[in-house]
């Protein structure tokens, strides 16, 4: 049960139940679909980029607590970042959930460390990274819609 508590920390359960920035915003500059064929989970990410700054991230979709919490936290931590910072954080996040890397003292990723529990559950890593991959596509697509299908 302790292992599980590490995976399902309160903040994850909270964001999973009440995802932030959930829904379609009135305007956005890029969007993309994400799909996890393993479990059938779907996510749609909307991003607004202005002068190279991530002004807003929203998402819609359905998925497990891990994927919803990861998407929700992502929308919060990326808002206000430059596009380059966002991409760098994407790489760091991937490292966080797939390796034993220690990011202590790294403020950017501090809020995401709650998701590092998925390291112990290889089949769940995709749940945590789905929204991030989708956001990456949405940013690359910018004004046009990035299609993953």
């Amino acid at each position: 049960m302790n292992d599980l508590r590490e995976l399902y920390q309160e903040i994850i359960l909270d964001h999973g139940r009440n995802p932030r920035n959930f829904g379609k915003p009135e305007s956005f500059t890029g969007e993309a679909d994400g799909y996890n064929p393993l479990c059938g989970d779907k996510v749609h990410v909307y991003v607004t980029l202005e002068d190279g700054i991530v002004k807003d991230v929203h998402f819609e979709g359905r998925g497990c607590a891990i994927s919803m919490a990861s998407a929700s936290l992502m929308t919060e931590v990326l808002t206000g970042k430059t596009e380059a910072e966002a991409k760098a954080l994407f790489d760091k996040f991937h490292e966080l959930v797939t390796t034993e890397s220690d990011f202590e003292g790294d403020d950017d990723i501090d809020r995401l460390v709650v998701l590092s529990g998925v390291r112990q559950y290889p089949s769940r890593v995709k749940c945590a990274t789905l929204a991030w991959h989708t956001l990456n596509n949405a940013m690359d697509g910018e004004a046009t819609t990035a299609k993953t299908e």
């Binding site: 292992d3 599980l4 399902y8 139940r17 393993l38 359905r62 607590a65 749940c127």
Partner: protein, 416 residues
């Protein structure tokens, strides 16, 4: 609880003895005794199967149908003996109607490509159902695309039932083949395959039955059912992976072109022209899964030794008990509630995604399948991404069901 549970079915079926035949059931997972509820994906293997595969490699292994030496003769005999075991197990007329393949997926691809390639043309209809596994959908879509045929699917209802009237109505003048599951892997629905075949034959339509679950939970008499093709995988029938069976009526198989070319499927080869071997070797190109075939033979001996009557009685008991326990929980929604069903239960727990349920149950030593079960069209029908699926085999007990229900408490505790 355990002793009472075991006693219930002891008369026909000694589940404790059967559990003793499966070495893996003695192990623990995350410090808890393994409760394996994912046999519909792949069943565990009895000692008899493990020993047969080991014995093949240790004492009787060589390539088959080639050598003039003792070992090759022995290996060939064991391989062909299994063909006879399969024939008897499904009551086919002739061993030439039994083709060894990698699994049901390959068997369906073989029929779709070989039979379909030779018999389908623009506008022809291939009839499947909404209950099918992807392996009985995608191969048909592929051959449809190549030939101009179209795939039509018989719908299901809110219980996941097989709708016989809808099936009959969907048989048109254009239907060239029907491909129907014997039992749904996702929700357990058992299809009345004999009636299905009769209805299709009345319209001159041949029928392929996907027997992956049916062969395990019901068994089949292919002459009685009168299906034209019946396919199944060894690994769901307590046998090894990488070995499966295509049964086809001899006249149909004779008329079909080979699926793959290579060694062992030829009569004579010159650099210009090849004549093909007789059935069933025409469809068995290359060195086959020899040890896997021998293992399948041992699995069939094992299952036939218990008998489907006893297996069905035991599994019905476990299924009935599971449904009773799950129906008593008001936050559980059963997905698929057809009347005649194999021992497969799909469900959802309010407010918790199946993937989270699966991870938490795993910590309790309970192995369940979560997700769409390779049946996305059926999940779409229910408007869900997936379910938690518990499937019960010959070694499962009422106590396993109790452990599952207790495990759901752990899910609630975490997510409450």
């Amino acid at each position: 609880m355990a002793s009472a549970a075991l006693k219930d079915t002891a008369a026909a079926f000694d589940v404790a003895r059967i559990r003793g035949d499966f070495p893996i059931l003695a192990r623990e997972v995350h410090g808890k005794p393994l409760v394996f509820l994912d046999s519909a994906a792949s069943a565990q293997k009895p000692r008899a199967v493990i020993d047969a595969v080991r014995h093949c490699y240790e004492a009787e292994y060589a390539n088959i149908h080639r050598g003039v030496y003792e070992l090759s003769e022995t290996a060939t005999r064991r391989y062909e003996e299994t063909r006879e075991k399969v024939r008897a197990f499904i009551n086919a007329r002739d061993t030439r109607e039994i083709v060894f393949v990698r699994g049901a997926t390959e068997a369906i691809n073989l029929v779709a490509q070989s039979w379909g390639g030779a018999n389908l043309t623009t506008g022809d209809e291939i009839l499947i159902t909404a209950l099918e596994h992807h392996s009985n959908i995608v191969p048909w879509q592929m051959i449809a695309k190549a030939t101009g045929a179209v795939v039509r699917a018989v719908p299901t209802d809110e219980t996941g039932a097989f709708l016989f009237d809808a099936f009959e109505q969907a048989l048109t003048d254009k239907t060239r083949i029907a491909a129907v599951t014997h039992a749904s892997n996702a929700v357990g629905t058992v299809v009345p395959v004999k009636d299905v075949v009769a209805a299709a034959h009345a319209k001159g339509v041949p029928v392929l039955i996907d027997g992956c679950q049916g062969i395990v939970h019901r068994g089949v008499d292919v002459q009685d059912v009168d299906c034209d093709f019946y396919v199944f995988s060894g690994h769901k029938l307590y046998g090894p992976t990488g070995i499966g069976v295509l049964y086809g009526k001899r006249a149909l198989l004779e008329a079909m072109p080979p699926y793959q070319g290579g060694g062992d499927m030829i009569e004579t080869v010159t650099l210009e022209k090849t004549t093909f071997a007789q059935l069933p070797h025409k469809f068995e190109a290359g060195t086959p899964n020899i040890a896997g075939t021998v293992g399948l033979g041992a699995a069939i001996d094992y299952v036939a030794g218990i008998g489907h009557d006893a297996i069905v009685a035991h599994e019905e008991d476990i299924l009935g008990y599971a449904l009773e326990r799950l129906r008593g929980l008001n936050d559980i929604r059963l997905v698929g509630t057809a009347k005649d069903r194999a021992s497969i239960v799909s469900f959802l727990i309010d407010g918790v995604h199946p993937h989270d349920v699966g991870t938490i149950l795993d910590q309790e030593g309970i192995a369940v399948r979560v997700g769409h079960h390779c049946a996305q069209p059926l999940m779409d029908h229910f408007d869900i991404a997936g379910t938690v699926r518990a499937s019960f085999g010959i070694y499962n007990t009422r106590e396993d069901v109790d452990t599952l229900v207790d495990g759901l408490d752990a899910v609630r505790r975490l997510f409450a």
